[in-house]
């Protein structure tokens, strides 16, 4: 078990290739069949779903592989970028947003936007954390302008 896990990136790559093969198999089987339509809504074909899974597994391998390389600050950017691509694939295809009314996608993006506002403002605030007010640049300006009124 340990030895399999030690090469987990190879394991992921293996899974990705298996998924690719499954995609091909399903594609050839489904090629000549008519695609059914439900009364309402949209039906995703199994081929497309397997293609997306293959892409997701490849992207997972990519992000794990990159994590072994030290890129400094870029590591976070790459990891989050790949995660966003994976997330978009899941949202668009597995969660059907590609074929849905746009309002559903607006809800998801909107919630992420407001989350971004929350995180962004909180970071801006804690980013200026000063262990002591004596070093506060704004206090310095005041002291210069008005002399040592309050100190």
């Amino acid at each position: 078990m340990e030895s399999i896990l030690n090469n987990v990136d190879l394991l992921i790559l293996f899974a990705a290739f298996m998924s690719l093969i499954a995609t091909g198999v399903v594609f050839t089987k489904m090629r000549n069949q008519p695609s059914p339509h439900p009364e309402f809504g949209h039906m995703t074909g199994p081929t497309l779903l397997l293609v997306i899974l293959t892409l997701l597994l490849f992207l997972t391998w990519l992000t794990v592989a990159v994590s072994y390389v030290d890129l400094g600050g870029l590591n976070v950017v790459v990891a989050m970028g790949v995660a966003t691509i994976k997330g978009s694939l899941v949202a668009l295809y597995f969660m059907h947003l590609r074929w849905d009314r746009p309002y559903n996608a607006i809800i998801l993006v909107g919630s992420l936007l407001f989350l971004g506002i929350f995180l962004g403002f909180a970071l801006l605030d804690t980013g200026e954390y000063n262990p002591s007010l004596i070093d506060d640049p704004f206090l310095k300006i005041n002291a210069e302008q008005f002399g040592n009124e309050q100190g």
């Binding site: 059914p36 439900p38 590591n75 997330g87 899941v90 949202a91 059907h96």
Partner: protein, 326 residues
């Protein structure tokens, strides 16, 4: 369960009889699963979907608070994360990612089968999704039990002495390794191999903030072990909960417990949602066994699928943040 359709037979409108003067569809041709306040099944389905997406937005904001905890702590104290992430095994994390991605596929296939009304296949795919969820929780169990074994609990229950003892053992090993390379023809040098009085190489105050577990008070004991654990893998002194080789390279920060608070909060809340999702699978399977689903009515499976995909989506972000990023 938010957002699902309301089959007429379970609408207990007392005194509903006879009150059809209100422009009701007059009963012919509409599905038994259409609720009386909707005009068409399409309207009902789209309303259900919209409701479910709104609920997913609330889940995003709920987890968002925890992501804020992570982000603010990491930005204020990157050393904490550099130290802490060594305890997380990215092999298990990656395996969990694969398991959840695969389960997303089987869930999407289950939705497709529900649209086609093929009962046995619906049950099959739901079962596979359920098993993937169980596999995820199983791996979580393995990870958590290792952490608990090592005393890496969140907050006040974090057993600092396990880390401290392990660090001392590592220093001891390093010094012994140095001695082994030194020329030993000399008489026994007065190399100090005793444990230094100052606990470890911690640059911050050695005692964790007050208010934590009583282990903080008991730092004066020697190499006393924390609970008699048998020797783990790889050649460290018996009785140590954490293998010194397993320790991160740098010094232990004073707020080490906060890292594990973040870890357990994030993965714990996510794990609870996986369990809820597994419950949803069981409920959907029960409905499917009654033969309810077909091209005219598949809303519960679709909405359950959306929930499961969101759980996957959250993990897609959790995995790199906790396991991959330094």
């Amino acid at each position: 369960m938010s957002g699902d359709a309301h089959p007429n037979e379970s609408n207990q409108h007392a005194g509903h009889d006879g009150d059809h003067a209100g422009g009701h569809g007059d009963g012919h041709g509409h599905s038994p699963y259409q609720a009386h306040h909707f005009d068409t099944m399409k309207q009902q389905f789209e309303a259900g979907k919209l409701g479910m997406w709104l609920f997913l937005a609330t889940e995003v904001l709920l987890f968002g608070g925890l992501f804020c905890f992570y982000t603010v702590t990491k930005s204020n104290d990157p050393e904490l994360f550099k130290w802490g992430h060594h305890f997380l095994d990215k092999r298990w994390g990656a395996t969990n990612t694969m398991v959840l991605l695969f389960s997303s596929l089987t869930m999407a296939l289950a939705v497709r089968e529900a649209q086609l009304g093929r009962k046995n296949r619906i049950l099959f795919y739901l079962a596979v999704t359920f098993l993937c969820g169980a596999g995820f929780m199983g791996i979580k169990y393995i990870e958590y039990s290792k952490k608990f074994h090592e005393g890496l609990f969140p907050g006040a229950y974090f057993v600092y002495e396990n880390v401290i003892d392990s660090e001392e053992a590592r220093i001891h090993e390093q010094e012994e390794a140095q001695l082994a390379h030194a020329d030993l023809d000399l008489p026994v040098a007065s190399v100090v191999t005793e444990v230094p009085k100052a606990r470890g190489l911690v640059l911050q105050p050695a005692t964790p903030p007050t208010g934590l577990s009583s282990s903080a008070q008991e730092l004066e004991h020697g190499e006393e072990t924390a609970g008699g654990h048998e020797a783990d893998e790889g050649g460290h002194a018996p009785g140590l909960a954490i293998a010194p080789s397993h320790l991160p390279p740098g010094p232990r920060p004073a707020n080490a417990h906060v890292f594990f608070s973040i870890y357990f909060c994030l993965t714990g809340l996510h794990g609870i949602h996986v369990l809820i999702g597994m419950g949803v699978m069981v409920w959907l399977a029960a409905l499917a066994m009654q033969g309810r689903f077909g091209p005219g009515y598949f809303t519960p499976v679709d909405l359950g699928g959306l929930y499961w995909h969101l759980v996957d989506l959250i993990w897609i972000y959790l995995f790199p943040l906790l396991y991959l990023v330094e």
